[in-house]
């Protein structure tokens, strides 16, 4: 049983995304701890990449701030080791294939397992290319998270059948970022997912308000929020963790008892 399953045991899951090192790792650590204290069920930690092609302007900005602050992959591994002395909720990395590949895929994935990273989200690894990392993920016990998009259509069942950890259901076309409205018919996609797997499914992209989180979590097993949290970091910098704590509480309260 994947450790990630724990995240879905406390009602609907709330999953915040934070870019490591934006603006520095001490702030990221404080933000993660505030999020956990206020009800986050799973933490998605971004390893910054120079050219994040699946991100909208807000998360692109976080990647740039983190890289200009000087973080690198080794520093992020040590940082996670530190977090794991007291943070017990499941944690996954979100980054791009080249960050893993360039580090040495085996060295990267075995280190993930060793420091307590439970899964990997790689938006530029679709189903057809998962063999690049999947055998190593299986060897070391790290879940390779599958993404399903509104355009997946005939692919939903195939992807869901092989999914592990949780399924990241992308709510809308386009890149990451807050949206005033989510128009995709997600009910039908979730139904197909349920018919093919018992792995939980959380929805992300475009969610920023408690009402949206409630709407998305009622269709699925949880809500993922990135840009709205990154915006707090952009606005408050090192003072952001307490605002992130308050925000996470408002979001988790909105979906806890659905």
């Amino acid at each position: 049983m994947s450790n990630i399953a724990k995240a879905f045991k406390n009602g609907k899951a709330f999953i915040p995304f934070i870019t490591c090192g934006d603006p520095d790792l001490a702030t990221t650590a404080a933000a993660v701890r505030e999020a956990v204290k206020n009800g986050a069920d799973l933490i998605e930690l971004g390893i910054p990449f120079s050219d994040p092609t699946a991100e909208g302007p807000v998360i692109q900005g976080a990647n740039l701030r983190a890289l200009s602050g000087g973080v690198n992959t080794d520093m992020i591994f040590s940082f996670v080791r530190g977090l794991r002395t007291d943070v017990t909720v499941p944690m996954v990395f979100m980054t791009y294939a080249n960050v893993v590949f360039s580090y040495g895929s085996e060295k990267f994935i075995s280190t993930c397992a060793e420091i307590g990273i439970d899964g990997l989200i790689l938006p530029d690894i679709p189903y057809e290319e998962k063999e690049e990392f999947l055998p190593l993920c299986h060897r070391y016990g790290v879940d390779l998270i599958s993404l399903i998009a509104p355009t997946s259509e005939n692919r939903v069942g195939m992807i869901a059948k092989d999914a592990e950890g949780f399924i990241y259901l992308v709510s809308s076309l386009g890149v990451t970022g807050e949206r005033s409205k989510i128009n995709t018919d997600l009910t039908a996609i979730v139904k197909t997912i349920r018919e093919n797997t018992s792995v939980p499914c959380a929805i992300g992209f475009g969610i920023s308000t408690p009402e949206q989180a409630k709407q998305m979590a009622s269709l699925s097993d949880g809500a993922i929020v990135g840009s709205a949290i990154v915006r707090l970091l952009e606005k408050h910098g090192k003072d952001a963790p307490k605002y992130i704590g308050e925000y996470v509480k408002s979001m988790k309260d909105a979906i806890r008892d659905l």
């Binding site: 294939a97 360039s102 076309l173």
Partner: protein, 396 residues
């Protein structure tokens, strides 16, 4: 050369967001259908011949040959195509394919602006909407081409992220494609990106080597000893090489942009300085740092200022079938001026990289050898920038 999963050896693949997967699958299916469709091929050949002006000339550069004193030099004149570069070969093919697929809108990235101009041209011709993404830095370096695209009815978006050059224009075009797929075709300009683009673009550019072969047999009764072309993503080079790959006696030489030198950080010579990675939908060689962050590359040539290289080039390099050399800004500018004075042909600064290598290579070969250099585009667009490089303060 392509296996069923879009691989060239270990290179290539489809490293893209799930959102785009059905779009590239749809494109591959449509391409596999139309590439053998007589009606499609008749229409495309008609456009290439009557609209773009093919076949392009294979010109014996006699003065250059005599001046350099060695191998006989032929120039494949892609600069004489409509819109002034080889880019139109690929664009007419993709635009026609997109139209057959029912798409009404073309998006494209551009570096020097030649691919953007070609896409805007095809969109105007076929009555399609067109949006071109161009790094802000390049909109300044190639201001004339920005005007040409707007004149042709395209919207030009100046990309302000990253290094504000070709790499960022590709990223932004990919992001745009994920927001709007149903009516939009991403008209990728080089032999790069996810499968099937490297194969589609190669096939549409392979007309260059098909013609070189026919023209060379007609003029000389034999194949050339070497074919030279500049390489950024590598579309004119693969087009120039493709029909010679099985002719093992023909040397294939790709000329990358060394910028200020391959021992500096201000270079875009991917095969000389890069290493294996995964970016922009493909596995190939990329200029990157030890953490896999893509390097901010540099070249005087906006069209070669890209941190990666097409997967088929990476493969041809791996198996030793093609050679890749690095040419500095200075060498390219010298060749730009040299060809202008010697033959009365102003080449694009991109093509000048291949000409610069020809200037080094020809004198080392005997006079019974023949080399072909692809002049991928014309250099009018570069005149102001080269003048500034030489210290003359002129603007278009």
């Amino acid at each position: 050369m392509t296996n069923p999963h879009g691989r060239f050896g270990i290179h290539g693949g489809q490293y893209i967001p799930e959102t785009l997967m059905n779009a590239v699958i749809e494109l591959e299916e449509a391409y596999n259908h139309y590439k053998n469709d007589p009606e499609f091929n008749r229409e495309l050949t008609g456009l290439l011949n009557d609209y773009a002006g093919r076949p392009s000339r294979l010109y014996y550069a006699e003065k250059m040959t005599k001046d350099l004193g060695g191998a006989k030099i032929y120039l494949k004149r892609e600069d004489l195509n409509h819109t002034g570069a080889h880019k139109i070969n690929n664009v007419l093919g993709q635009a026609l394919l997109a139209k057959k697929m029912g798409k009404t809108r073309l998006i494209a990235e551009t570096g020097a602006g030649q691919h953007g101009v070609a896409t805007a041209t095809a969109a105007a011709l076929m009555g399609m909407e067109c949006v071109v993404f161009m790094g802000e830095e390049d909109t300044i370096r190639q201001a004339l081409n920005v005007y040409r695209m707007r004149l042709l009815g395209a919207e030009v978006v100046a990309v302000k992220t990253g290094t504000r050059t070709l790499k960022d224009a590709v990223s932004e075009a990919m992001r745009e494609w994920t927001t709007r797929i149903s009516d939009t075709h991403y008209c990728l300009g080089s032999v790069m990106g996810p499968h099937p683009f490297p194969t589609i673009v190669r096939d549409f550019q392979a007309v260059i080597s098909k013609e070189i072969k026919e023209q060379m047999l007609e003029k000389e009764g034999r194949l050339p000893d070497a074919v030279l072309a500049c390489v950024g993503g590598g579309s004119n080079a693969i087009g120039s090489f493709y029909n010679f790959i099985d002719d093992k006696d023909v040397r294939l030489i790709g000329c990358e942009a060394a910028g200020r030198g391959i021992d500096t950080f201000e270079t875009a010579a991917t095969i000389s300085t890069g290493r294996l990675g995964i970016f922009h939908g493909m596995k190939s060689y990329f200029c990157q740092d030890s953490d896999g962050q893509i390097a901010p590359v540099y070249s005087i040539s906006a069209g070669l200022d890209y941190p990666g290289v097409g997967p088929e080039h990476a493969y041809l390099y791996d198996i030793g079938r093609a050679e890749y050399v690095a040419i500095t800004d200075d060498e390219a500018v010298n060749a730009f001026e040299y060809l202008s004075r010697t033959e009365g042909i102003i080449p694009a600064i991109e093509s000048s990289h291949a000409l610069a290598h020809a200037m080094k290579l020809a004198p080392t070969l005997s006079s019974d050898k023949i080399i072909v250099v692809t002049v991928s585009g014309r250099g009018d667009k570069d005149c102001a920038a080269i003048a500034r490089y030489r210290g003359e303060d002129i603007y278009e």
